[in-house]
Structure formats: structure tokens, C-alpha cells
Symmetry: C2
Subunit: 776 residues, 2 copies
């Protein structure tokens, strides 16, 4: 009986939680957040202390400072630094202003400690440092890191700040971060200030400077500084000569001494860092700060309430939602590059990853925040010339495929996001679509756009021509739809036409029973029979945590196909496809699946092709280009296959364990994919429609703008009853396996009746495609 | 008799000076420098205190802070700021960290004073501030400004530092400087630190930050700060909230109080600014600093010794040499953007102006410095992707015509400049020549290069197509010659061929007796009959100080030719020609005058065309594209006409008065043109040859590398005897009106015998042209 009672209690509890969140009081949904999920394997999630969209991400940097999020479950903790990103791959970014507590003599190089117990919660992280028996506890405000160190040894205790430490100094392929310089000054017995200046990292970014103001609650009995590893006890200041510097404070030692420090961070100046400290952290105790961070998380997490008896399901769900809200970072007031009244967000890492599910999720549950994000993108375009795809450390870069910020701007228009200047959004998208970025075409904009706009596809004169062509086409449809809504009919016609450009690379080759694939084509119109990847070759074996990349000339022959380019040749930056191969990219026509079905030989051939794709493991759940593909069955009238497939994928590849994500979380992309698919519906990004699959919860409520809510009820849901028999939206029959944003944006109830067997529900009125509109 | 004696004395003095300079002891050639020359009219020269290639240029900012060099001879002095450029046009740059002394109550807005006597010398500037009866004196070290204020009123005296003040906030056409933020802190009764962060200006530059550490020799009795004009007496700190801030110190007043302050400047940090102060200025008295700056100037000025009885000639000559050495600014150790062992120079403003005469002059008299400059350019290419044409405030931009840094790099190779990695120089030039810069094609590289490389000219699809085509062709010849010297024969052939591309815009139209002009052509190969300027129209009237620019739609009809594009239509950024018209640009084929003569209809037609050009005032001495044109007679066998013309131009358009320059000095371009033409020879930039005209001095010595010297002797020189009758180089007859750099780089004596009448000297073996080489 116990389980049943528990379910009932939890149900009541959760719904109440949801309602009370609506009224603004805190809940404890954050207690389900486990920041360690995704920190092992390839998830690369950040486990430290931060706020929703927080600029400061204070967490441990471990081992050889080579991981993307700083953390590693093995090796020593090297200290706790203030800036991180979550879920990313490639060369690491950040890891600035590292703090390390010590007992005994200060070591300024090679310090670090094995660890005992680690604890991570939303807004809190702690670790026991074994050698020194110090308990390190961290929390944060949006722009301040708050540290509490409990020293358990007598003798001299101290805390050092290493302004020269950053992640990924040794990263490969020009993706290393480079320290340009650092400066530090011990202002008083309780204050240290300084900065470091860094460039590089995955996005090959321009220099940025991270300033800090550190305030200790315990006066130092002695202090010192160092430069390039040479200690200067008693010295107050190390000026910036391009070398790494640091400083330490030592405290008169006693056992069980507890020292708190608050570190204001700024991208503007030391004065601004101090101001951030004073505004956010000066008056807070450590415990108050932990509570405040928790409440900030609960305010966001409570925007979705789910009903389930399974605690593990809650942990997975709310942690996924938590991961989605880690980025982009709200740096409003911290833009050193220009002045404007617009919000300023950074760490879009990358929109190529997050436009598919993360931004649609934020648009749904926090439209006020998505509006700020979109406005910050438009402001970047206005001041720097181009929308970013990737942006971190205040620098645009890189663009893997299309100009996918277009998708966010188009959705803002299509979904009536308030407070966005639609005309400017339209202009920003057209810049992408028309003006070649030139110089470094990996940085921003659309590389190869001159080809695409003149001959209808990106030729093999340009790198990533396959990925670019299919994504530009999808981007163009987004631009077209937005233009239509804005009454710009000429633009609508122009971009709606270009949205068919993917067909210009559709070549009738056959492989594994499927006919027709996106293939390389020369500028003169002939197929490129001699195409070779130039540098990289991705492993093709599908297995979570085993996706890898190796230089082309080291690729084992089993992957190489004797060097020929085939539908299974996946690549990297200089190649035809980015991070995947033609099997995957030949499904990426999200705006015209109807036409894709036709080009694939009709419905049966298309369904068979999907079956082959998933059964032969050509599909890679860890890769964003395939995010929508499980839902394509729905477009071909077999919604139940999407349901079945997704149930298996969610179960197989996501868990509550540290290695519980199938691949790089990519700033929450993998996690937001999970949230939508667990909720039972999925956005087709850049458009205003959602596809209905099957919810995993009997009841799910989403708080919408203006105190409205969307409820999704799944009557008769069970382990077996996962198929939809019938549906009602707001009390009226709903026989389509999709709905528009306008259908639910003012709230409503989607009531589904579940069945143990597949039904015909949703197979008649199929989701819209570009070809439908073109036929009108 | 007196004059003769004086001449003799001066002769002895000067030569001795030259010799002693060779031995390293200071001379007083700097006493001939008058920094006021060029400060009125359009010269825009900087009259303040600085070092040769000095980073700090400390001088007065006047009136409404709208002039390019800060100074204006009318209106109030608003204070003394630490960074300037000299001779530039367009939107002003710099004017950072302004200091103003006051007596009585502090005013933090609208302060300023009428002035009494002003004095300017190499390394020194002073002004009497009338209202407050304060004598302001300025000097500098390379990276520190040193101020001495003598207060003559009793009552409270004070000094304010305005960190929010910059030049050109109101400049037109997106060329305004924008203050992004500022911060200031009164550290102690004798120290103020802070910074301001700025973007924009003529080169539409990225943000840069100017940090300062100011140390006073007199303790303050009170102090205060302000933000956005609101005073906060007694407050120590204003953090950066994006607004302008400042601070002041007040001193217990007494009459005849003298307060010195030293201001370390840095682009890195406040710590580095303090370090610069400590390294350069902490131990120097004001008078010692003045002496040291003077000696630094003399060390450079003494590299050329001239013999003349005319003091005014010396003033004009050494001031011109002084102007040439003001820029680029040596910022080695002050690069916030990347780390490298290379030198770092900034304020190339622009190479389009200075490649023709300034860099050839520096190469000749200070090759060790030109080598550093070239290495810094290569380092910019290596770290940012492109060589600059313009660069200021650590940002590339803009490129008016060709990629003229190529000329400097090619010359470095052709003239055997030591310490330059020639292979890297070659790579940097090829990047310009091959890779479209894209995005903002005004920033760097070659806009329109895809046209140029494929169809052989820049079509009217691109702006500045005429200027670009002719300059790309000259650049390509420079690349070709350097490649040839490096043994890169394929590159030589490729670029030597492209160097003929100017001919593709040569259209056989007739005007004023001349046939054949560079004219607009469409991408499809047809002449662009409908070409219109898009935005700007330059005045065509030739008159010094009257060259102007007006918006096209406001152009008086007398200039407009009813809107038709003609050979006299001059333009600006978006037009076919930059800053000039086809008459001028159709002479710009510096690398193939032989072919130009042929295309112009042969020698007689060409000479007649030159006569028309100069007599009809189509020539504009104030514009760089015509720098070489007076020498083109020499290529057509009438060297004497070049001599006669140049004598008249030098006399008519240069004087020792404040308005003594014919136009913007453009970082010394006008001045170095003067130096060469007074010396009697002239470089054909991007090549290794010099053209001999006629010296203005009986004797001129140039100190070359390795204690060698080049002497130019003009026997029988007089007001009338200006033509060359015969010549010897190192004792052997020299019948060519040109020589190669290799002919003189190890020193030598060029002895000319002058005549009152034109002779046949130099009319046989004419200067080399591309067409000669192509015929071999």
C-alpha cells in the first residue's frame, strides 16, 4: 500500500507546489535537481553553484584543467573558479579567477587536493578537501561568487586567488585559451582585487577581461603575491606584464576556523566588480545566499509541474529543466563593447544546438526571458553587424551550419513574443541571408551564401556545404514565415522559394534500401565525384559516449571506405557535413517533410528509410541535427512509431546517474530535448507548431504568461498504455498530432486518452509543410 | 659680409652636428622644429609634447573638442589630454585622460580658459591660461605625460582629471568617438588612477581602454570626484556605470605655487600605467624630462644634415622630418589583444597616406625602426588575419584603396631590411591579394578582389572600384617583385600579370586634349554609362585649404555636371574614386609608367597631358594619389620639368607658418613628401628605385646603417641653377635620373653639377617600368 499512498501524497504535493509557485512563494522542486547528472561520460554539464541564466558559475576546476566545465570526477580539485559553461565540447572556455584554500605553507603552483564527499544542489556545491581537511562550500548570486571554507587543522590557514589559472591552455586545434595577462593587488587585510585577460577557446574568441573584487570576512595575519610561480611574501601588487599572477591571505590558524569570502565579478572593471558585490552579496550570509539561489531556481522550475510517483523521474526531469536554464548567461550591465539600453546575454554555445529545443522551451515557460534574449541578439547584430550562432567571452564564433539565430527571431515573431522590435529582427535575419560574412566564414553569418543565392546550393568550393545548404533552406523558411506575418510579401516569396534549395543537393544515389541523399556538388552543377573529407572523420559507430573524432589520416580503414565520400562519411569543420553524415542530414528538412517524403519515394519508402535509419544505428541521439527525426514518423502518418521510439530512447539514453546524458549537453540542448519529449510534445523549431507524441506523466502543467496555464492530461497512462486513442483540446475533439503555438498560448487543457495499442489517431490531418503552403 | 660668414658658420655647425650625432651626442637640430607648423589651415598637425614614435602625445584640447589633433588656435583651452594623432582628417580619435588646472572652485563641466602665450618645441608645450593666470607646461616620456602647473593666484589651486573627456563626440557620419565608460579613484593625497573606454572615431574602431596612474608632487588638502557632472566632494571612487567620471585634487593655495604631476598611460592596466610611470618618469625632474625628450628628437633629426644659410629652410625641413617621425606610435608592451615577442605599433593613419614617402624615408634614415614597424604589421596579420591599412586604438580600419601595407612589406624585401621574416611578409601580402575580407570591406584587405582576380578589374558592383583597381595593380607589382627576389617564380608570374589590370579600366574617352581615362565598368564587361556617385562629391577647385567635401545632394550645380559621371567627378567612400577623380587616378600607374605613356598616346601626348594636369589645376598637392605625379615628366624624358614644377610647388605650398602645409599632414605624409623633394630625390613606393629631381641644399648627408652615409652635393646650386648638368655617383659618371636602393644603401656620394638651364641629363636611360621587365 505504501507506494500508492506515496503517489497520492506526491501528486497533491506537486500540484500544490505548482499552484503556490503561481502565487510567487518558493517551492522545493529544486531539491530534485542533481547537478552531477551529465558530469561524467560526455555530458560535460557544470555541477557548481549558479543562478538561472547566471553570469557567475562558481565551481571546481579539476585535474589538469582540461575539461569543458572544469569538473572531473577523478584527479585532484585544483580550486574553484568563477566562470564556466555547461555541456560544451571542443576547446574549453573560462575557468577564470580561481580560489584555493590551504593549510600550512602556501604553494602557488601544483596545488590541489584529493577530495572526499562532494555535494551539489541548485545554487550550492561543496567538497571535502582530503589532505587539508578543509570543507569548501560555494554558492552564488547572479554576478558574485560566495565561498565558505571550514578549516579543520590548526596552524596557518590561507586562501589563494590564482588570477593566471584558466581552463584549456593545452586544448588542441587552435582551440586553446590563451592567458594574455593578469594583475592582482592586496588592497587591505580583507580585500584582494585584480583581473585576468584571456582570448581563444572553442570559439576562437577575441580577448575579454574578467575583473574581481574579493572581500573576506576574516582579516589576514599575513599576505603575499606571486608572478610566474615566484612568491613575494608581503608584496601587495603584481602589475600586468603578461604573466600569471596571484595573491594569498593567511589567517592565524585555529582548528574549525570558518572563513567566508565574497567575490564580485565583472567584465567591465574592478570598480564594477565591487559594485556587483555590494549590490548582490555584501549583506547576505552564506546560508541566506544559498536560500536565495534556491528560491531563484524554484521560481523557474515551478513553471512546470508534473505528476509522477517516481522520484527518479522527477530528478531526471527537473535536472533537465535546470540544465536548460543555465545558459545563455545574463550579462546585462556587463557589456564592455558598446552602450545600449538592451539586455546583454552571452554564452550562446551554440544556437546551432539550442535553437531546436532549448529556446522553444524558454519561449514557452519564460517568454519574458526569451524576449530579453532575442533583444540581446538583435542588439549584437546592430552593434557588431551579425547575429551570433556561437558567442562566448563577448565574441561571436563559431557557425557550424546555418544562421540559426534566425530561427529564434522568426519564432519570436511567429509566437508573438512581446517587447521585440519585429522590424529589426527581420533586418537582422536578412543580413544573414544576403551579406557574405567574408574573412573568417566560421565566425558568423552564412558562409557560401553567394553560391547558395545564385546557383541554389553551397558548392564544394566552400566547407560544410551540405550542412549549410540544408540549414540555410530551413532558415529561409523561417524568414519567409516571419516575413509573411509582418506583411512583407516580397520577402516571403523570395525566401519561401529559396527554402526549396536543399533539393538542389538531392542526388538519386541508393544506399541500404534508401534512394536520394544530400551529396556534394560542384559550382558548375556537376556532382562532385572526387569529393574527399579534408581533415576530420567522425566515428560512425553509434554508441553513446563513443562518438569521437579523429584526424582523417589516422582514421581506421573500417571507417574510411577507401577514402571515397559516401552517404556515411561524416566530417568536421572543413568537410561537407558537420559532425554527421548524409543519412542524418538527408532527414533535415524540418520545414518541408511533405516534400522530403515525396523526394524519398513516397510514404512507404520514407517510413522504411526511417526504420533503417533507427535500426541500423545511423541515428545518433547525441547529435542535434537528428533532434526532430524521431518525430518524422508523425509526418508520414505513423505517429505511434514516434511514440514507441521516443519511449525507448528516453529510457535507454537518459538516467539519473552522472553519466546519464547521451552526449554533450550543449548548454542544455540534450536536456531540453528530454523535457519536451517527456512532456509529450515537441517543437518544430523556427516554426509555430508542436508535434504531439506521448506524455510520460499523467498530468503536467505549464505556467504560461499572464497567470495562464497549459495542462496536459494523459488519462489511462500506464507503462503499456502509451499510445493516444483520442484527444480533446479545451473540451473539443482534437484529432491532429500537432498544434500551433496560438492554440495553447492563452492556456488550455489538452486531454489525451491513452491506449495500449497503436490507433489511427493523428494520421489524417498531418502537420503542415512548406509544400502545403506553396500549393495554396 | 655678414650673411656669408653666417653661412660658413652654419655650414660648419651643421656638419659637425651631423658628425657628432653619428657619435651619439645630442645636437640642437630640434631647435629648428616648430610644432605649430600645420596646426592652422588643414594641416591638423599635433603641436603638443611627445617622443619620436611616442605613444603618449600630451597636448591641449581646445574649443569644442572637435579637431583631429585636439589643438585649435581659437577658442578656449579645455585641458591637456594624453593621446593624439597628427595630421589626420575625418572623425577625431583619442583625446583621452584630460587634465585641467584651476584656481578657485572646481568646475567639472564647461571649464576652460582663454590663453595667452603658447610655446611649442620638440618634446615641450606651454600655454598661459588667462583667467586663472596659470602657466601650464607639458613634456613627456614615451608612455608618460609630465605636467608642470605654475599657479599665480592665491586661494585654492587645483587640478582635475576628466576621464570622460574625448575628442569628436559630435563628429559626423558614424565617425564619432563614443565613450563606453570610465572609472576613477583618488588613491591617496598624491595619487589618482582610472581609465576610460572608447570606441569609434574615423576608423570605426573597436573598443579600447586607456588606463592612467597620476602621481602629484604636492599633497592635496582636499579632493573629490564626479559622475555625469554631479560633484561628490570628499568621495574617493566613481565606479564604471558607463557615464563620464572625473576627480580633482585641491592644494592649499599660495601664489607662485608650482605643482608637477606625472601620468603613466597604458592600454593594459592601471598597474602597467604605474609601471610605465615608474620606469620612465618617477626619477625625472620636469626639466630633465624636457631635456631627455629633446635629445631623443635630436638623435633622429641628426640623421639628416643639410647645408643652408636660410634659417627658415631649416625650420621647414626639420619640422617636416619631425612630423614624419610622430607616427606610427610605438606601443610595444602595450598590446592588450595578444601576446607575442614582436614589436607593436599602432596609429597607422593610414598607410594609404604614408606608404608613398613616410615609410621610404624611415627605411632610409632609421631602417631599424622600419624593421620593427614591418614586423609589427606582420604580427597583426598573424594574429588578426589581415594587415592593416588604417589602424588606431588597436583596431584595423579603414582601407581607402588598395592593400598598401603590401608596399611596405615588399620594400622591406626589396631593400634588404634586416630582421624581417620575408616568408611571412610574402604570406601576409598573398592573403590581401587572394582572400576577400568580406563583411565590412572598408576595414582591411581588398574589397572587390573576387572581381579583380576573375574579370581583371573591380566592377561597379563594388565601391571605390576605380581607386581599388589601379592601386591593386600597383600592389600586385610590389608583390611580384618581392616574390621574384624570394625565388618564388610562380607567384612572380601571377602577380606581374595582374599588375596590368589597371588597363582593363582604361577607356578611350577624351577630355581637355587627353585621351584615355580610368572609367567605371560593369561586371558584364560593358562600360558603366549610368554610373552615379552615391553619397559624396568632392570640391574640384584646386586651392590649398579649400579642398572640401559636401554631400552629393547638396553639391552646387557647377560641380555636378548634371549628375553625369565624368573624368572630373571625385568621390568618397561609396563612389568610384576615393578623394579624387579620373584625371588624377589615371596617372597612378607607378609601376608601369612606360605602358601608361603608350596608352596615353605616346610620349608627346603624355607630356601634354601632364602639362594640362598641372596648369589646369586638376592636380591637388594636398592629396596623396598625386604624390608621384610631378616626377612623371622624368619617365617621359623631361626631367627638367619635374625639377621646375617641384621647385614651384615646394615654394608655393609649404611655409614656416601655422598654415604652412597644403592639406592634412596625414601622419607626416605631406611632410615626408617635402623632405624627399627638398633633398632632391624621391622614392617610387613599393619598388626599390628613387627618382632624382634637384636638391634644394648644396650639401645633404643622410646617416645610413652601420655608420655609413649618403652625401648629396649640388655644385653650383643657386636660385637659378637648379637643373642638373652632370652627375657622379661615388666618383663615376651617373647619367640616369634615378638610382636603386642598392646603389646607395652602403653609403656614397652623389655629386651633382647644377645648371641654370635645362640640359639633356637623365633623358636617355629612363627609370624602369613593369613593361621593361615583361619584355625581357
Amino acid at each position: 500500500m505504501k507506494p500508492v499512498l506515496l503517489i497520492a501524497l506526491i501528486n497533491i504535493f506537486c500540484f500544490t507546489t505548482f499552484l503556490s509557485a503561481q502565487e510567487g512563494s518558493p517551492t522545493t522542486l529544486s531539491s530534485y535537481v542533481d547537478p552531477f547528472i551529465g558530469t561524467q561520460g560526455n555530458g560535460n554539464t557544470f555541477p557548481g553553484a549558479t543562478y538561472p541564466f547566471g553570469m557567475v558559475k562558481l565551481g571546481p576546476d579539476c585535474d589538469d584543467l582540461s575539461t569543458n566545465m572544469g569538473y572531473k570526477d577523478t584527479g585532484k580539485i585544483r580550486g574553484f573558479s568563477h566562470l564556466h559553461v555547461s555541456g560544451t565540447g571542443g576547446g574549453p572556455k573560462y575557468g577564470n579567477i580561481l580560489v584555493y584554500p590551504f593549510s600550512g605553507d602556501v604553494k602557488v603552483e601544483g596545488y590541489g587536493s584529493d577530495r572526499g564527499k562532494e555535494t551539489a544542489k541548485a545554487g550550492y556545491f561543496s567538497a571535502e578537501l582530503k589532505e587539508s581537511a578543509i570543507l569548501a562550500e560555494l554558492t552564488s548570486t547572479p554576478k558574485t561568487g560566495i565561498h565558505r571554507y571550514t578549516f579543520n587543522k590548526s596552524g596557518h590557514n590561507g586562501i589563494l586567488i590564482d588570477a593566471g589559472s584558466i581552463l584549456g591552455k593545452q586544448a588542441c586545434c587552435h582551440e586553446d585559451q590563451k592567458l594574455l595577462g593578469s594583475e592582482i593587488e592586496v588592497l587591505s587585510e580583507t580585500e584582494i582585487v585584480g583581473y585576468n585577460r584571456v582570448r581563444g577557446g572553442w570559439n576562437i574568441g577575441e580577448p575579454f577581461t574578467v575583473y574581481f573584487y574579493a572581500k573576506f570576512n576574516t582579516p589576514a595575519s599575513s599576505f603575499g603575491t606571486w608572478k610566474s610561480g615566484v612568491k613575494h611574501p608581503g608584496k601587495r601588487m603584481e602589475f600586468d606584464s603578461g604573466e600569471p599572477v596571484g595573491a594569498w591571505l593567511s589567517f592565524k590558524g585555529k582548528a574549525s576556523q570558518m572563513v567566508e569570502m565574497r567575490v564580485g565579478i565583472s567584465f567591465i572593471s574592478i570598480g564594477k566588480a565591487k559594485e556587483n558585490f555590494q549590490n548582490e552579496a555584501a549583506g547576505l550570509s552564506f546560508d541566506q545566499a544559498v536560500e536565495k539561489a534556491r528560491a531563484a531556481w524554484d521560481a523557474y522550475l515551478s513553471r512546470i509541474a508534473i505528476t509522477t510517483a517516481d522520484n527518479t523521474e522527477k530528478i531526471k526531469f527537473y535536472t533537465a529543466l535546470y540544465h536548460t536554464l543555465l545558459q545563455p548567461a545574463d550579462k546585462t550591465g556587463e557589456n564592455p563593447l558598446w552602450k545600449s539600453g538592451a539586455p546583454y546575454f552571452d554564452d550562446f554555445y551554440c544556437i546551432w544546438d539550442t535553437y531546436r529545443t532549448s529556446h522553444p522551451l524558454i519561449t514557452l515557460i519564460a517568454p519574458e526571458k526569451e524576449s530579453e534574449i532575442v533583444n540581446s541578439l538583435i542588439d549584437i547584430y546592430k552593434n557588431e553587424g551579425y547575429l551570433p550562432d556561437g558567442r562566448s567571452g563577448n565574441s561571436n564564433g563559431r557557425t557550424q551550419g546555418g544562421s540559426n539565430a534566425d530561427m529564434l527571431l522568426a519564432e519570436a515573431i511567429l509566437k508573438d513574443l512581446k517587447g521585440v522590435e519585429y522590424g529589426e529582427a527581420h533586418d537582422a535575419m536578412l543580413k544573414d541571408a544576403e551579406v557574405p560574412p567574408g574573412g573568417d566564414e566560421r565566425k558568423e553569418g552564412r558562409g557560401g551564401i553567394k553560391d547558395y543565392n545564385i546557383i541554389g546550393y553551397v558548392s564544394t568550393d566552400y566547407e560544410r556545404a551540405g550542412t549549410r545548404t540544408v540549414e540555410f533552406a530551413a532558415n529561409d523558411w523561417a524568414i519567409a514565415q516571419a516575413a509573411l506575418k509582418l506583411g512583407k510579401d516580397l520577402d516571403y516569396k523570395k525566401y519561401a522559394k529559396r527554402a526549396a534549395n536543399w533539393e538542389n543537393l538531392w542526388r538519386p544515389v541508393e544506399h541500404d534500401g534508401a534512394k536520394g541523399f544530400i551529396m556534394p556538388r560542384k559550382a558548375n552543377g556537376t556532382w562532385d565525384e572526387d569529393y574527399r573529407n579534408r581533415e576530420w572523420q567522425y566515428y560512425l559507430d553509434f554508441a553513446p559516449n563513443k562518438i569521437g573524432v579523429i584526424p582523417y589520416n589516422q582514421t581506421p580503414s573500417k571507417y574510411l571506405n577507401k577514402g571515397d565520400f559516401t552517404v556515411l562519411t561524416a566530417g568536421g569543420w572543413p568537410d561537407f557535413f558537420y559532425e554527421s553524415h548524409s543519412w542524418e542530414y538527408s532527414f533535415y528538412v524540418p520545414h518541408d517533410v511533405r516534400r522530403l517524403i515525396a523526394r524519398s519515394g513516397g510514404k512507404q519508402a520514407f517510413l522504411s528509410r526511417l526504420d533503417t535509419f533507427f535500426s541500423k544505428k545511423y541515428y545518433n541521439i547525441a547529435n542535434e541535427p537528428g533532434f526532430l527525426t524521431p518525430h518524422l514518423y508523425t509526418y508520414a502518418g505513423q505517429q505511434f512509431k514516434s511514440v514507441l521510439l521516443l519511449r525507448n530512447l528516453l529510457k535507454k539514453y537518459y538516467s539519473e546517474k552522472p553519466d546519464g546524458l547521451p552526449g554533450n549537453d550543449d548548454s542544455g540542448a540534450m536536456s531540453s530535448w528530454y523535457v519536451f519529449n517527456k512532456a509529450g510534445f515537441f517543437p518544430n523549431a523556427g516554426q509555430d507548431i508542436y508535434l504531439i507524441s506521448s506524455p510520460s506523466f499523467k498530468q503536467l502543467s505549464i505556467a504560461l504568461e499572464g497567470n495562464k496555464k497549459l495542462e496536459i492530461l494523459a488519462d489511462n497512462l500506464s507503462q503499456e498504455a502509451i499510445f493516444i486513442k483520442s484527444a480533446e483540446l479545451n473540451g473539443k475533439p482534437w484529432n491532429k498530432a500537432w498544434f500551433k503555438h496560438s492554440d495553447i498560448k492563452d492556456g488550455g487543457v489538452l486531454r489525451l486518452t491513452m491506449s495500449e495499442r497503436p490507433t489511427d489517431w493523428g494520421t489524417e490531418d498531418l502537420p503542415p509543410s512548406r509544400s502545403d503552403a506553396q500549393q495554396k
